[in-house]
């Protein structure tokens, strides 16, 4: 394929990756920002969302859109509730101590993974997209007769992938409004800034924490529901989103939500674009090192505040 169309295709693919990543990482970022805990089980909440989406969709017959929409509602609810319960009965009891939280969430990771394997099986499970039309894309080229529109071989995207991008933008905008305009969002931000003072002013900090933990997990689940019609639900699928979300949250600057979104876009897009220039595995190595070096030379992340 020519360079231009190749780059465009890779960018579009990168945008889809970025959209899912932004949702998942937002979940982690909120938990991280408000509660200051490292949740190793975040990827498993993502996986659970995908699995529940498959389960809901396979229970229902009829048009695939019915199952999909229902999954979009149910999966985050179930996963969020589960996470809130885990927060209430495990994390609150260990006072969110950093080391203990890591051990406990690794334990949670194993529990969720193994339970899913036993109830759901080891196979990769597909979910039918509500709609999925292949859209060939045009490319403009300057030739002998001036600008001409051509339809390069292979340059295309599907309507569903476009939908994922739009859906992610919508959900993140909604989340933004929720955090900045609603009372619940205000409570969360107050807790984030200073949990002790917030408590003194009558904010039910413990309950806010449970809600935040549930919300974070729910966002991962939404990301997963959106992704299953492209990828498949599988009990080991949680590791990648976990690692990538962590990277995004740190690169974005701890607790900075705009930073998280920018980092998600950067990392999702660079994953696509670097693949244009290097052979696949080498591209992954380079992308990984580039991100590591960004952190080495800007440890506070892109939008984090420097301490000095």
């Amino acid at each position: 394929m020519e360079f231009g169309p190749h780059l465009m295709l890779a960018s579009l693919e990168g945008a889809v990756t970025a959209a899912i990543l932004a949702l998942t990482a937002m979940g982690l970022s909120i938990v991280f920002g408000v509660m200051r805990v490292v949740n190793i089980a975040h990827g498993e909440f993502f996986m659970l969302g995908a699995v529940i989406a498959w389960w809901v969709a396979s229970l229902l017959g009829g048009h695939p859109a019915i199952g999909f929409v229902l999954a979009l509602v149910l999966a985050p609810l179930i996963v969020g509730t589960l996470a809130a319960v885990a927060d209430r009965f495990i994390l609150q009891r260990i006072n969110y101590d950093p080391d203990r939280t890591i051990v406990a969430t690794i334990g949670l990771l194993y529990i969720i993974q193994q339970t899913t394997l036993m109830t759901f099986g080891p196979e990769a499970r597909p979910v039918q997209p509500p709609f999925n039309t292949r859209l060939a894309l045009p490319w403009f080229e300057y030739g002998e007769n001036g600008f001409a529109m051509i339809w390069p071989w292979g340059l295309s995207i599907t309507s569903y992938k476009l939908f994922v991008i739009v859906a992610a933008i919508t959900i993140i905008t909604g989340l933004w409004l929720f955090l900045t305009r609603s009372k619940a969002g205000l409570l969360m931000r107050a807790t984030q800034q200073d949990s002790e003072t917030a408590q003194a002013f009558g904010v039910p900090v413990q309950r806010v924490y449970s809600w935040v933990f549930g919300l974070g997990a729910g966002l991962a689940a939404i990301g997963a529901v959106l992704v299953v019609p492209i990828q498949q639900a599988h009990y080991l699928m949680g590791q990648d989103p976990l690692l990538l979300s962590f990277i995004v949250v740190i690169i974005g600057g701890l607790g900075s939500l705009p930073g998280t979104i920018i980092a998600a876009i950067l990392i999702g897009m660079s994953d696509g674009i670097i693949s244009v220039f290097f052979s696949p595995t080498l591209a992954k190595i380079i992308a990984t090192l580039v991100v590591a070096m960004v952190l080495v030379f800007r440890p506070q992340g892109l939008l984090g505040k420097s301490e000095g």
Partner: protein
């Protein structure tokens, strides 16, 4: 050290006795001349350690390896066991992890006192476990299709008698691909040793046929989206050769379809990509009229043999290759026959060696090494095999199927000779 001396002694003895088609004449304290089922010296069960991928990335395969193994052992026991003794399977999960694999082999040998270990699929687990099996002098029968055994990298205690290795499979495919599909090939494979084997062996094989590999695209193993790599496929490509493993394969095939749209080159893939997956899953419509290598045809064919029928019923698989209990639960049909056949070979080997206990392990290996042609039968439902005792590797027929109306229909069956290659090792020269 005494053990080693004895086993050298018996090896010569066994070779002689097998050559004469008689029972065992050995230096060990086994009563000579007694073969058959009834006169067993002990009624204690023969214990086979089954190393299974129950968790980890190989779990989808492991579940079906388990079912096949249970079915094969039930059949063996129903027929009177081995040397008059029942067979007991000791199952341990290796987590599809080479480190745990070695530990499991050790557990079989020293804790459970298993007679042999068997059943491993993923080649990194084989690699991790085989050294331990060799040190513990535990015969280790793998069902992995890797080239590791025949390449000479393992040891005399490791054998692969039940499934053809990847080098042979790939080599047997090349003539069909170049004669029927095209000469300019783009390969897409995981950036794993397994993928590199495909790349190296197929490139060599297709060049021998006058074809060329115009591009090879190695996909990093952690990848979950593939479209961005497809522009690397050169326009001149006549055939796409794909072999992917792991949970992301469905995405891979789907995105390949979305990339090409209506104008696609010929596509030839290894069914490894879609083992345990319904070929009629949403998004796979694109595979209609593409070709697959199959180790063992998943769909019951028009000319289905009675052997396949018996085997299918015993394992509990329907005519589409799915579980009889759940028509949506698809098997790993192209690989799991290896467990069935390997167990039958172990049985035949133990009977030939008049295997009585761990002291006879080397005799068992020699007995298997002495095997050669195995006929298409209930014991070998996938097809006839030719075992090479020197390389510890078996060679069999391969199938090329075309997807027609959502079914895999066999178009071509390769001969055993198509897959033969020169020996790279002679394990029989190694001491035990």
């Amino acid at each position: 050290m005494g053990k080693i001396n004895t086993s050298k002694f018996t090896r010569r003895g066994v070779l002689k006795s097998i050559g004469a088609g008689a029972g065992v004449v050995g230096a060990s304290a086994v009563a000579p001349g007694l073969t058959g089922f009834a006169q067993a010296q002990s009624s204690a069960p023969i214990r086979l350690g089954f190393q299974v991928h129950r968790t980890g990335i190989g779990a989808a395969y492991g579940r079906w390896y388990d079912r096949t193994t249970q079915a094969a052992v039930k059949r063996i026991n129903d027929m009177g066991g081995i040397n008059g003794r029942p067979v007991e399977i000791i199952t341990e999960d290796d987590g599809t992890d080479p480190k745990r694999g070695a530990e499991v082999v050790e557990k079989f040998a020293t804790l459970y006192n298993c007679d042999i270990a068997f059943g491993t699929l993923f080649s990194h687990v084989v690699y991790g476990s085989a050294p331990r099996a060799g040190e513990l002098k535990l015969p280790y029968f793998v069902v992995s299709e890797g080239h590791h055994v025949a390449s000479g990298k393992l040891n005399r205690y490791t054998l692969q008698p039940g499934i053809t290795d990847v080098k042979s499979q790939v080599q047997a495919m090349a003539p069909f691909v170049s004669d029927n599909l095209g000469k300019k090939i783009t390969m897409i494979y995981p950036d794993f040793a397994f993928g590199h084997d495909h790349r190296d062996f197929f490139t060599a094989a297709i060049e021998a046929q006058g074809g060329t590999v115009v591009e090879s695209i190695a996909i990093p193993p952690t990848e979950t989206s593939f479209t961005k790599y497809f522009p690397r496929i050169p326009r001149e490509t006549e055939v796409i050769y794909h072999v992917m493993v792991g949970p992301a394969v469905l995405t891979f095939v789907k995105e390949l379809g979305e990339f090409f749209g209506p104008n696609r080159p010929e596509i030839f893939g290894f069914i490894d990509s879609l083992e345990a997956v319904d070929i009629n899953s949403p998004g796979l419509e694109f595979l209609e009229n593409t070709y697959f290598w199959e180790g063992h045809p998943r769909n019951a064919q028009a000319d289905q043999t009675s052997y396949d029928k018996v085997y299918r019923a015993a394992v509990g698989v329907d005519d589409n290759g799915a579980s009889l209990d759940d028509p949506k639960d698809f098997s790993t049909y192209s690989h799991m026959f290896g467990c069935w056949e390997t167990l039958n070979i172990i049985k035949a080997g133990m009977e030939a060696a008049d295997y009585q206990g761990p002291a006879d392990r080397t005799k068992l290996i020699e007995a298997v090494e002495a095997m050669s042609d195995m006929p298409h039968s209930d014991d070998h439902p996938q097809g006839a095999k030719r075992f090479n005792g020197k390389t510890h590797q078996t060679f069999g027929h391969q199938y090329i199927s075309k997807v027609s109306n959502g079914k895999l229909v066999v178009e071509h069956t390769t001969s055993i000779e198509d897959g033969l290659y020169e020996d790279e090792v002679d394990y029989t020269t190694q001491s035990f």
